[in-house]
Every structure is written in structure tokens, then in C-alpha cells.
């Protein structure tokens, strides 16, 4: 029996508003844009909920009822759930109902959708704990499978998740790592005891997430029947389809037929008796690992490099990310909840992604989405906000000299 394992990523960052040098020291609110731009977190959350989260989740809820054998899984960033709670409670309510069916698994990740693991493991652990508590509170479940921000993965992360008691961890199924091996098996990360590794089948995932509406694609239009056939023909034990949830309705608009595709898929799968829907935990429990996988340097699901260069590739990104983590000790000493929260919101990986310049070197600035006019604008707003945060931090520090004299 071959498994079909869906995992959808639900994430929305707190975008930093256009924050100028002159605002430093005068405005401690970095995320409260109320204008017409794409930096207005409220309107973005409302729009994504309306176009994607609500219709997609309503449909999936209906499909789960119609097909009791169907399974899905989600990974929600803590800050996405926070924003939905405030700006789109209907979407959050639908997610709760999906989890209540018992046919959906919720994965573990960092609350702030950060890359903290690579900069500060103690901070990373605090964010994972905070996330777990939120998932427990909202959905009443404990996540058992871990996925890190942007699917970033390294041997030591797997070792960490192993000792933290997770049953599984997921990563990109990247050919240079796998070599002749297929991503469609359960693997054992090198140097771990019980944890299992599930790898994304990026070809079949991207057929839906990226290529679905592309008319230049030879397979366009992609029907549920054709796709179901490809899944049936796939080798191995499990096909892991991991993608952004916004694929449904936001990246692929409703008029591309993406919702019809999703609606028809379960019945197409049902025509193949050799395939069964499973959640990540169920996949892990169903198969023995085929081999050991060794990933000594960071692997992610981003662009053609599949590394961290989309977040830390240029001097701006390096400066920004190093500066934010350099404040860790000070933030803890300051003992100020709002300051701590702002510091953590500034760790979200999206901020660094918006500063990426590697694509615009090909003259194609619009290849990737950013709410800023340019990577430079993103960096300026971020660094100005960070300077203000540092100023707030300095004010909270005990007066120097008092202790020294």
C-alpha cells in the first residue's frame, strides 16, 4: 500500500511598516501599517483568508466528511494563528473544525517562523515551546512531527528533534542529497535513535503549487484525473506533497480551477486501490526506514539553490540577522514582554527574504513576491525598526555607573 501525505504550510509574517530614520526613538510600533499598501498586516490577513484560507478549508472540511479515508496535515506559524484570531476568526474556526475531524494532523514549528535554530538553540527551543502551547490551546493536540521554517534542515536539527521526543521530521527531497534514492520512502537521519525523516516530493508538489496554471507547461491543464494517475505511477512507499496553503486561491487563483482540482482529487485517488491517504505520523508508523540520510549543511525548500542564501546571501541579510540575534541577552535582561515580542517578531524569516537580491541580478525583480518596492527598502525599514528596538533596550538597562561606583 502506497501512502499519499499532504502537508500545507499556513504562515503570515508581521510585515514591518515603512519605518524611517526619523521614527527611531519616537514610534515603538513596527507592524501597524494601516494604509493601502501590502504592508498592512490586517488587510493582508483578511484578503488571504477570504481568497484562500476560508474557501480552501471549507472545501477540505467537506471533503474530509465525504471521504472518511482522506487525511491532511497542517503546519501553522504562531504569528499566523495570532493574526487569524484577530483579523479572520472565521478561518481559525474552520481550521479547528478540520482538526476536530481526527483526519488532520498538526505539525510542530517555531512560533515566530524563524531561523533561530541556526543562530541560538535556546531561543529556538523557547519558540518551539511557545508554539506547542498555542497549538494545544487552540486545537487540543500535541504535535509529534517537527518541521522547521522554510523546511530548513540539518543533521543537528534532526538530532535535536530526536532527543526532544518527536516521532518525525520533514525536509526537502533534494536530488543532490538523495542521489539515486527516491524521496518516496521513510528515512533515518544520521546519528539519531528513533526519529524518522519524511522528504518532500518536490516535482509532484510543484506541479500543483507552481505549475498548475502555467500555460507554457506542456502538461497544462492539469486535471485531477491526470494527477491521480501520476500519483499512482509514482515509485516507493509514500508520496509527500508539501506546499504553501496559499496555493489554493492566492498563488493559484480561483479562476485557474484550483478548487475544482482539489475537490476532484480524493475521488480520483479512490479509483486506485493501491494508494491510501496518510498523515505524517501514520506514514512513519507504517514503514521501516529504507536508509540513513546525511545532511551536514543546511537544506531548505527555496529556489534552485535549496540553501539559506535566499535569507542570508547578501551583506544586508547577514547584517540584519546577526544584529537581531546579538540582542538576545539584552532582551532577556530587560524583562519587558512587549520588547521581547517585538524582538521575536523581527526574527521571522520573511523579513530577510524580502532583502534578497539574488534574483534581481537576472533583471527579473518580480520573480518573487515582496511587499516592498525593493530589497533595499525592506532592509532600510527593518534596520530602522531594529535601531529603535535597541534604543528601547538601552533605556531598560540599569543605569551604568550606579553599580560601578
Amino acid at each position: 500500500m502506497k501512502s499519499l501525505c499532504f502537508y500545507f504550510q499556513v504562515h503570515q509574517p508581521y510585515r514591518v511598516k515603512k519605518y524611517r530614520v526619523f521614527d527611531i526613538g519616537n514610534d515603538p510600533e513596527y507592524f501597524n501599517d494601516r494604509g493601502e499598501s501590502n504592508l498592512n498586516n490586517r488587510t493582508i490577513a483578511e484578503k488571504v483568508a477570504r481568497k484562500s484560507y476560508i474557501p480552501a478549508t471549507r472545501l477540505i472540511l467537506e471533503l474530509l466528511k465525504r471521504h472518511p479515508e482522506m487525511r491532511v496535515s497542517y503546519s501553522f506559524s504562531g504569528i499566523a494563528l495570532e493574526q487569524l484570531e484577530r483579523y479572520a476568526p472565521e478561518a481559525l474556526d474552520l481550521f479547528k473544525r478540520v482538526v476536530e475531524t481526527g483526519q488532520a494532523e498538526v505539525l510542530a514549528e517555531t512560533y515566530y517562523h524563524s531561523l533561530a535554530f541556526f543562530y541560538s538553540v535556546p531561543e529556538f527551543e523557547r519558540q518551539v515551546t511557545k508554539h506547542r502551547e498555542l497549538i494545544r490551546k487552540l486545537f487540543g493536540v500535541w504535535p509529534r512531527v517537527f518541521r522547521n521554517t522554510e523546511l530548513s534542515y540539518r543533521n543537528d536539527l534532526a538530532a535535536w528533534a530526536d532527543s526532544a521526543g518527536y516521532a518525525g521530521i520533514i525536509s526537502e527531497g533534494w536530488d543532490p542529497i538523495l542521489g539515486w534514492r527516491s524521496p518516496n520512502y521513510v528515512y533515518r537521519p544520521v546519528g539519531t535513535r528513533t526519529i524518522r525523516l519524511l522528504m518532500k516530493n518536490y516535482k509532484l508538489s510543484d506541479d500543483v503549487a507552481f505549475r498548475f496554471s502555467s500555460r507554457e507547461w506542456a502538461e497544462w491543464p492539469l486535471t485531477a484525473g491526470k494527477y491521480g494517475q501520476w500519483l499512482a505511477e509514482a515509485d516507493g512507499d509514500t508520496v509527500n506533497l508539501f506546499m504553501d496553503y496559499e496555493t489554493f486561491g492566492e498563488h493559484q487563483w480561483e479562476d485557474t480551477g484550483i478548487f475544482d482540482f482539489l475537490e476532484q482529487l480524493p475521488q480520483e485517488i479512490a479509483k486506485n486501490p493501491g494508494i491510501i491517504f496518510r498523515t505524517p505520523s501514520e506514514v512513519i508508523a507504517s514503514y521501516e526506514p529504507k536508509d540513513e540520510v546525511d545532511i551536514p549543511s543546511v537544506l531548505t525548500w527555496a529556489d534552485t539553490d535549496r540553501d539559506l542564501t535566499a535569507w542570508t546571501g547578501n551583506a544586508m541579510q547577514k547584517a540584519a540577522i546577526e544584529n537581531i540575534y546579538a540582542l538576545e541577552d539584552g532582551v532577556h535582561l530587560a524583562n519587558d514582554a512587549k520588547l521581547m515580542e517585538d524582538w521575536r517578531k523581527l526574527q521571522t524569516s520573511d523579513h530577510f527574504y524580502y532583502m534578497c537580491t539574488k534574483w534581481s541580478n537576472d533583471g527579473d525583480v518580480h520573480a518573487y513576491f515582496s511587499p516592498y518596492e525593493s530589497p533595499y527598502e525592506a532592509y532600510i525599514a527593518y534596520m530602522n525598526a531594529l535601531s529603535d528596538l535597541r534604543l528601547r533596550l538601552d533605556k531598560r538597562q540599569p543605569q551604568k555607573g550606579v553599580l560601578q561606583t
Partner: protein
């Protein structure tokens, strides 16, 4: 081709553009007879003087015109030996009438005229030869007036006649194309955008110059540069106002204003009135090694133009790895990604960006690296290929 003198004799963008485009065209195998107005120490206006420069035949005509001439500057600079016109317009008319003479003397397939001063000659040449005319618009009267309402109606009329008569109008940006469609009523279909480029042949040469600036840098000061004609069109006053705002936040910055023009005095007075005269250097017009040095030494190049059809100077700075901040009201901002951009009137945002470049090293480093690469790709060869295509289409149509 009715063009303009090459650098270093005239270092404005038009001369640079003529040189870059002509060289690149001749490399592609297009022969160019290059006609340029030049004040000559000889009395006959029809003397044919031929210079050799690669595959380009240069022909100087004895006309007292330069690309940025104004009625007053013409009267000031005109040699009084009886050949030249009594005022600017009569000199333009004199040049115009030479168009047909030159057309009869030379052998060519297509006529090419750069900007309004040579449009008249281009039209005459077309009438005399029946050959197609390309009008290349580098700037319109609306740009030169910096958005002011006082455009010169005579100039406007000549520009319009040139574009109407032309078989193809080339503009240096979409921005200029829009002006030509909306303000000159030229049908969109006959306008082609060909962006300017940059390459070694038109770059200022390296050398020793301005040692004082390096000393300031060594003392920990940051340098912010304006380089261009000091006229309303180029927005030097916005540069000074942004400097004022910047210095309120970071006093360790000097501002360099390089160039000359009719606003020089006014801009100096403005700096004094704002109390920042000691923070702004007025270098006057710079050429060659001095220009190269000032570009290289600057931490940021600012082009706050009110209306800039293209703007080659930022490309020169980028090519030398200097970060640039350019106004959104410029053609170059359409083709450049690795630059900071700002509305020319938004002095606060200009100051915000200047302070960000001087304050956050990661920004300067990333801009510098990417700008250099980008400038490397925006060559005259790309422009010449497009022009070559237009020329070939016109020749086939004949």
C-alpha cells in the same frame, strides 16, 4: 547623423550618448557620417572637415551651438566674427539651412538627428534627399524647464515639427515617450524606447584628483555627491534641503555639489540660509580624473532630478561601485534595479535613504556590489542593436 561633440569637449549626457551610440553602431557595421556643430576658426561655413575615429566619418560644421545652449548663454559665447547668427534662433535657422547642403554632398540611407537643435537640419536633409528621418529625443523642452510652465514656444514648435516629420521617434525612456504622446500629440506607434547605456569608452578616466576628499574620508566622514548641471531640471535645491535634514541626525557627513549652471548662486545662498554652508562643497564643473575621483570617493551619489529623460551619471557612478539614490522621475530608474529610488520632492525620504546608506554598512556594500554588476550589463551595444534594427527596418521600407 546630426549629433553633438564628444567628451571631453562637452561632457553633458548628450555628447556621451552620441559617442557611445555612434561607436557601438559602427562596431555593428553601420557606417556613420557624423555631423557636429563646432565653432571653427575659419570663415567658410561649408568647409568639410573630416576627422577619423574608427568607422565614423566626422564632419564638423561651423555653427555656434552646443547641446545645453540657452538664449543668454548663446549671446555670451558667440564669437563676433560675422558668421554666426545674431541670436540663438537665427543660429538654429542657419544650421537648419545647412541640412540640405550637407544632404546633397553626402551619400547615406537614413538621417538621424539628436534633439531639437539639430531637428531642423534633419528635416531639411529629409526634404532634400527623400531619405527617412529618425528623431532621437534625449530631452524635451518640458524637461529642460524642470516642470515650470514657462516653456519656450519656438523650441517646442521645432521639437514638434521634428517629431512629426520623423519616420521614427526614439526616446530614451518610457517617461519621455509619455511626454511626447501627451504633450506633442505624436502617435504612440511611431515611438521606440531605446535606453542609454554605459561602457568604458564613455567613462571618465582614472587619475589623481581632489586629494582633500580622501582626507575627509580617512577622518571618518561620509561623502554624499550631487553631480550634474546646476539647473532647475536637476533638482540641486532638493539635494541641499535633504542635506539639511540629514545633518540634523548625523553631523559626520559632507555634501559635494559638482557642476555649474544658472542655479549655482541660488543653491549656495540656500545652503548658507539653512546654516549648512560649511558642510557643502561646491566644486564647480568636473571632468576626467576629477570626475572619476569624486564618483569613486563618494559614499552615495544622489540624482534628485525633477524631470530626467534618462540620466547617465548614475550609471557612471554605479559602474565605479558607488551606491546611487535616483529620483523616480528619471528614465534611468526604469532600467535600474540596484538603486535607491525616491520622489524628487520627498526630501524627508531622501534624507531617510541617505542616512540609511551612511548608517548601515550592509546597505552600501550590497548596493555597491550589485550596482557594479548591473551597470556592466547596461551597455551601448544593447542600445545600438535596437537602433540598428530600426535603421534596417526603415531601409527595407524605402
Amino acid at each position: 547623423m546630426f549629433g553633438w561633440e564628444f567628451p571631453p569637449f562637452h561632457s553633458g549626457g548628450l555628447g556621451v550618448a552620441c559617442l557611445g551610440l555612434t561607436r557601438a553602431l559602427s562596431k555593428l557595421g553601420t557606417e556613420v557620417i557624423f555631423v557636429m556643430p563646432k565653432k571653427l576658426d575659419i570663415t567658410s561655413p561649408h568647409t568639410k572637415i573630416v576627422f577619423a575615429d574608427g568607422g565614423i566619418n566626422m564632419r564638423a560644421v561651423n555653427v555656434a551651438l552646443s547641446p545645453y545652449v540657452t538664449s543668454t548663454s548663446y549671446l555670451r559665447g558667440r564669437p563676433k566674427n560675422g558668421i554666426y547668427g545674431a541670436d540663438l534662433m537665427s543660429e538654429v535657422m542657419r544650421y537648419t539651412s545647412m541640412g540640405s547642403v550637407i544632404a546633397r554632398e553626402e551619400n547615406f540611407d537614413v538621417i538621424y538627428a539628436h534633439d531639437w537643435l539639430s531637428f531642423g537640419a534633419g528635416i531639411e536633409a529629409k526634404h532634400a534627399s527623400g531619405k527617412p528621418l529618425i528623431a532621437h529625443v534625449h530631452a524635451t523642452e518640458f524637461d529642460r524647464c524642470g516642470g515650470a510652465n514657462s516653456i519656450n514656444e519656438d523650441v517646442y514648435a521645432i521639437e514638434r515639427a521634428g517629431m512629426e516629420e520623423a519616420d521614427v521617434v526614439i526616446t530614451v525612456s518610457e517617461l519621455t515617450k509619455n511626454i511626447i504622446v501627451t504633450k506633442y500629440g505624436i502617435p504612440e506607434g511611431k515611438i521606440c524606447v531605446v535606453y542609454n547605456g554605459i561602457d568604458e569608452s564613455t567613462m571618465p578616466s582614472a587619475g589623481k584628483g581632489l586629494p582633500r576628499l580622501r582626507k575627509l574620508k580617512a577622518a571618518g566622514f561620509k561623502l554624499v555627491l550631487f553631480l550634474g548641471r546646476v539647473t532647475l531640471q536637476k533638482g540641486p535645491d532638493y539635494f541641499i534641503r535633504a542635506a539639511k535634514k540629514v545633518l540634523e541626525y548625523d553631523p559626520k557627513i559632507f555634501f559635494i555639489l559638482s557642476g555649474s549652471g544658472d542655479m549655482e548662486q541660488g543653491v549656495m545662498e540656500l545652503a548658507a540660509r539653512l546654516g549648512i554652508a560649511d558642510r557643502v562643497f561646491f566644486t564647480g564643473h568636473l571632468e576626467g580624473a576629477d570626475k572619476h575621483e569624486v564618483y569613486s570617493v563618494a559614499d552615495l551619489f544622489v540624482m534628485p532630478s525633477v524631470s530626467e529623460p534618462f540620466g547617465i551619471a548614475p550609471l557612471e557612478a554605479m559602474k565605479l561601485g558607488t551606491p546611487v539614490l535616483i529620483s523616480k522621475q528619471s528614465g534611468v530608474s526604469e532600467v535600474v534595479n540596484h538603486a535607491l529610488k525616491v520622489d524628487f520632492w520627498d526630501v524627508d525620504e531622501m534624507a531617510n535613504k541617505i542616512l540609511s546608506v551612511t548608517g548601515y554598512p550592509g546597505l552600501a556594500e550590497t548596493l555597491s556590489k550589485n550596482a557594479k554588476n548591473e551597470a556592466h550589463r547596461l551597455t551601448w551595444n544593447v542600445a545600438a542593436q535596437k537602433v540598428d534594427g530600426i535603421v534596417n527596418t526603415l531601409m527595407r521600407a524605402v
